[in-house]
């Protein structure tokens, strides 16, 4: 594949008489941390920016784009814990119904106006009304200015996930004038470490930024030049990195060996879990699934490590938990709870009253086809007869919740309370009617999580995690890694919950 110089291509190339166009940069010392690395950061992202307007933006791959232009009120550390950014500190009231935030006083929007409490309140109100950003503020009654550098978030009920969601990418602060003018989508104005250079950027192809002078947190953002290239195709991204056009990329694990040969830095961390989502734990839609033994049989029937090796190129961790591997809650010892054992699975099914198995309908979409052979084989051997209903992805997300069980790949959160909310208690497309309250084991543990605080809450979540595994709430096969490649002199810290981390996690060194 590498050695076919076509005569025709050579002829055209020669007549154009072009010179080298390498975008590579040589390593040089940086200021600040003392670490060394390139001055130019050229990121190959997986997707184009959804919108420069944070109320319309996604979290997944929009992180590097938006974090360049906007300061967040709250950021996250690498483990999903909220940390200060524009808000220097915050206090949660004893009744859990309000949060007071102190706003730093030395930040300025790129249009010259100061970042003050009025601007923050206006931004938050705008985000609450946003069709995508509103997810973080479902329990907010109002945002109020207390004084010039303090605001208060009034809640309608206790919300343990709001600070995490704000840090995840839902608290970018925008210029009030831009909000009023409705121009954020085209001309983003924030107070971030960089400013979008509209004159050299090409929508959908490359975005270039200029560094903000005298930025208050310059040490966190050491690169003097920043460009972000949305490149959907993994091979194209890889070629762009080989050619020197980019020096950080959202990578394909298939290129791992070549990345190592090139001497690139590699970072990997789990990002989502693959397996069977069970929406019915009471037997309302499918009587067998209401029985614990059946759900446990579905766990024993899958060899998660084999599925990970066959489908996920081995990039991940075989586990039966939805709390991220390596996090506080995930307990590796629990991964042996349902070690692959088809005989045991059949025995449990017979004990549950289904010695000859049972029939079930499941949806199928092209995006999940890669898991279909594994699922089909395991379920057939177990005695479960599946009727597959084929549909396109938009319809899958729409119709799958009507099925008692379906294959899915779900993104995970780095924050443990958010994981409980997203995976168990809140209404999601993959959890249309949360039925945890009908389970005698899970319900009291969820209540404990929702009432405890601090270490006691963490302990409650650990207990809940074990119970979810014991109750076979899902049939989790494995957690899959996101992989990132960086040129020499650049480091990237993956963050669970962000498909591509924000710029604060990319450093020299």
């Amino acid at each position: 594949m590498k050695r076919m110089p076509l005569a025709l291509a050579a002829a055209v190339a020669a007549t154009l008489a072009l010179t080298s166009c390498s975008g590579g940069t040589s390593p040089s010392p940086s200021d600040g941390s003392g670490a060394e690395g390139p001055d130019a950061l050229n990121i190959g992202n997986f997707l184009d920016v959804t919108s420069w307007d944070p109320s319309l933006a996604d979290i997944g791959f929009d992180g590097p784009y938006l974090s360049a232009v906007y300061d967040a009120l709250i950021a996250l550390d690498a483990d999903g814990a909220p940390i200060p950014s524009l808000a220097t500190e915050w206090t949660v009231a004893d009744d859990d119904l309000s949060i007071d935030l102190d706003i730093r006083t030395d930040a300025v929007f790129s249009d010259g106006t100061p970042v003050d409490a009025d601007a923050v309140v206006k931004s938050l109100e705008y985000l609450k009304a946003g069709p995508r950003s509103g997810e973080a503020y479902l329990n907010v009654a109002s945002f109020e200015k207390v004084d010039d550098d303090t605001i208060s978030i009034r809640l309608t009920q206790r919300d343990d996930t709001i600070l995490y969601l704000m840090g995840l990418g839902r608290s970018y602060v925008m210029s009030p004038a831009s909000i009023e003018a409705g121009t954020l989508g085209k001309e983003p104005i924030g107070s971030g470490p960089y400013v979008l250079d509209s004159t050299t950027s090409i929508a959908g192809a490359e975005y270039h930024f200029t560094k903000t002078a005298d930025y208050w947190d310059a040490e966190t953002y050491p690169f003097s030049e920043l460009s972000i290239f949305p490149i959907t195709d993994a091979t194209a991204r890889h070629n762009a990195m080989l050619s020197g056009q980019i020096n950080v990329q959202y990578g394909d694990v298939a290129n791992l060996e070549q990345a190592e040969q090139q001497g690139w830095n590699v970072a990997q961390r789990v990002s989502g879990w693959a397996g069977l989502v069970i929406t019915d734990h009471t037997g309302a839609k499918s009587e067998p699934l209401g029985k614990l033994e059946v759900r446990q049989a579905l766990n024993y029937a899958f060899d998660g490590a084999a599925v990970l090796a066959a489908v996920g190129s081995g990039a991940g961790v075989s586990t039966n938990q939805v709390f991220p591997d390596g996090g506080d809650i995930n307990d590796p010892a629990l991964n042996e709870t349902y070690a692959y054992n088809m005989d045991k699975a059949k025995e449990l099914l017979a004990d549950a009253g289904y010695p000859d198995g049972f029939a079930i309908s499941m949806p199928m979409s092209p995006i999940f086809e890669m898991w279909k052979p594994s699922a089909e084989q395991a379920l057939k051997e177990l005695g479960v007869t599946v009727t597959w209903d084929n549909m396109q992805m938009p319809d899958y997300q729409l119709n799958a919740p009507n099925y008692p069980m379906f294959i899915s790949f779900l993104a995970m959160d780095g924050n443990d309370v958010a994981t409980v909310a997203r995976q168990v208690t809140s209404v999601q497309w993959f959890n249309p009617e949360p039925d945890y309250a009908k389970n005698d084991v899970i319900a009291p543990l969820v209540e404990k999580v929702q009432t405890e605080r601090g270490d006691a809450q963490t302990a409650a979540i650990e207990e809940l995690n074990k119970a979810l595994v014991d109750q076979a709430w899902w049939s989790v096969w494995y957690q899959a890694n996101n992989t990132y490649y960086m040129a020499t002199g650049i480091q990237l810290q993956p963050v669970v919950g962000m498909m591509f981390p924000t710029l604060r996690y990319i450093s020299q060194g």
Binding site: M1, K2, R3, M4, P5, L6, L8, A9, V12, A13, L16, L18, T19, C21, S22, D48, T50, S51, D53, L56, D58, G60, P131, R132, G134, E135, L138, G185, K186, T200, I202, A203, G204, A205, P230, I231, T232, D233, T235, A236, R237, N239, A240, L242, S243, G244, Q245, Q392, M393, P394, D395, Q397, L398, A411, R422, S426, V427, Q428, W429, P432
Partner: protein
């Protein structure tokens, strides 16, 4: 000629309206509720309902259609459901990218294809003819995406003569623009060159055997002038292939735009389909049909100019 042109324009308009209507209803039928894919996997049903109201999905389909049609008649295709920017503005950015690549590919095809077709057609059976035929078979068999990857690895990654990915508009740098579209255009052109050369070769051989060619030669006309006459008479077949190829490349650009990460119509179509962004898909459909109609009209006019008998068809 005027009546001929008017008939073609009218049939083009009918096609445009019919396909637009079909696309509107098919898109709504295929994507029954796009809010889930638009908002992503973490959206709550309440958020989906709010978005449905914001983009007008809660209205009857016929009302939605009438609104879209009346706006489209004024060249207003609404806003994207993904980022709420005007569809026409985004098309204005994407269309030149695809047109640049497709036009350059067509130009390469026409120049090289016609040259090869003429040379081999005028001297059939020579070593050059046989050699070109052999190369043609190989080129035609090579998958476009494979050729693209080879070109990238060789000319972009190893030699660094061209960028591996990306697009530079000519307004920013003509040199950069040429660099960014050359490899994608070559990838697209390879199959077409073979088709054009083959068509023209056969037509040139057929024309060369005609009595009028012998007559011209017997009158002492130079070979160059005779060959020009042969080319004019043999060109309709090649022109048709070139026109069809241009239309075909508009859709074929999807793969090439992916491989070279070009922000063109192909990439936009792909993203809009995945997101269920119906206004954007409708805008892309309309603009694509306009191109198809224009190219066919142009082809008809050129063929009519070359051969007046065509005008009465």
């Amino acid at each position: 000629m005027l009546l001929f042109t008017a008939k073609r324009v009218l049939s083009g308009l009918v096609l445009l309206i019919a396909v637009s209507i079909g696309t509107f209803f098919l898109a709504h039928l295929a994507i029954s509720d796009p809010t889930a894919s638009l908002l992503g996997t973490t959206a709550s049903p309440a958020q989906q309902a709010a978005l449905a109201e914001k983009i007008g999905l809660d209205r009857p389909l016929l009302v939605q259609f009438w609104d879209w049609l009346s706006q489209a008649a004024q060249l207003d295709f609404g806003v994207s459901w993904r980022n709420f920017q005007p569809v026409s503005e985004q098309l204005a950015v994407k269309v030149p990218v695809t047109l640049s690549v497709v036009t350059f590919a067509t130009l390469i095809t026409a120049v090289i294809g016609v040259a090869f077709g003429m040379i081999t057609g005028l001297r059939p059976g020579t070593w050059f003819d046989r050699g070109i035929k052999g190369i043609s078979v190989v080129l035609f068999a090579l998958p476009g995406f494979w050729v693209s990857l080879v070109l990238v690895m060789w000319l972009a990654v190893q030699l660094k003569w061209f960028p591996a990915v990306g697009y530079v508009p000519p307004t920013q740098s003509v040199d950069g623009w040429l660099r960014s579209i050359t490899l994608p255009a070559i990838s697209l052109a390879l199959g077409g060159i073979v088709a054009v050369a083959e068509q023209l070769r056969n037509a040139v051989i057929a024309q060369s055997r005609q009595d009028w060619v012998r007559t011209l030669r017997s009158r002492g006309l130079s070979s160059a002038r005779v060959n020009l006459h042969i080319l004019r008479n043999a060109s309709p077949a090649a022109l048709t292939v070139i026109a069809l190829m241009f239309v075909g490349l508009l859709s074929g650009a999807i793969v090439v735009e992916q491989i070279f990460s070009l922000p063109g119509l192909g990439q936009l179509t792909n993203q809009s389909s995945q997101n269920g962004d119906i206004p954007m898909l409708l805008g892309i459909t309309v603009i694509s049909i306009v191109f198809v109609v224009l190219i066919n009209l142009l082809l008809d006019l050129v063929l009519g100019w070359i051969n007046p008998k065509v005008r009465v068809a």
